[in-house]
Amino acid sequence: SQTIHQWPATLVQPVGSPLSLECTVEGTSNPNLYWYRQAAGRGLQLLFYSVGIGQISSEVPQNLSASRPQDRQFILSSKKLLLSDSGFYLCAWTRPGQGRGYTFGSGTRLTVV
């Protein structure tokens, strides 16, 4: 069966520090991968998606970046965190062409202080 792992679960980082959140999927190949963010009082916002290794599409310009070094690995990064980067980050995957099959990770609660 397919599973998705996301870590860490919680993270407190100072302003200006780097960030790396990791997401891995097991039990499938060539998934579409997504990073969403939920800021306080707001809905879920798509940040990045990827249809293959090294292929990243950005939905919202900001100081975050994403990379997909391996087929089932999706990384969300920042060189210098801002206070506004605080929020709940969710990774998700689907099979190509099947948007209805979204499966979400357990999320990372990031607090920038």
Partner: protein
């Protein structure tokens, strides 16, 4: 551009009362609509999708293209229904990375 609007951030009903969570969407093509739910300390998970015309945990949702709505309804709310509910839409062509666009969510609280 596609957009999903959930006008109620918070909704409280008493146990046994009917509940309706509102969702309106904006999309130029034929969208696929979904409801996702996140119970306390659990992952976001799919509740139902309009193409399946299914009833999950007593919830139903009908796509009204004329009103561009996809309201979630349950005739008799239960305390275990308390959760955050997200309406979501998928647009885009088949074969592409079909992104979900979420509404801002409605926190449902069912009171005893």
């Amino acid at each position: 551009a596609q957009r999903v609007t959930q006008p109620e951030k918070l909704l409280s009903v008493f146990k046994g009362a009917p509940v309706e969570l509102k969702c309106n969407y904006s999309y130029s093509g034929s969208p696929e609509l979904f409801w996702y739910v996140q119970y306390s300390r659990q992952r976001l998970q799919l509740l139902l999708r309009h193409i399946s015309r299914e009833s999950i945990k007593g919830f139903t949702a009908d796509l009204n293209k004329g009103e561009t709505s996809f309201h979630l309804k349950k005739p008799f709310a239960q305390e275990e229904d308390s959760a955050m509910y997200y309406c979501a839409l998928i647009g885009g062509s088949s074969g592409s990375a079909r992104q979900l666009t979420f509404g801002s969510g409605t926190q449902l609280t069912v009171l005893p």
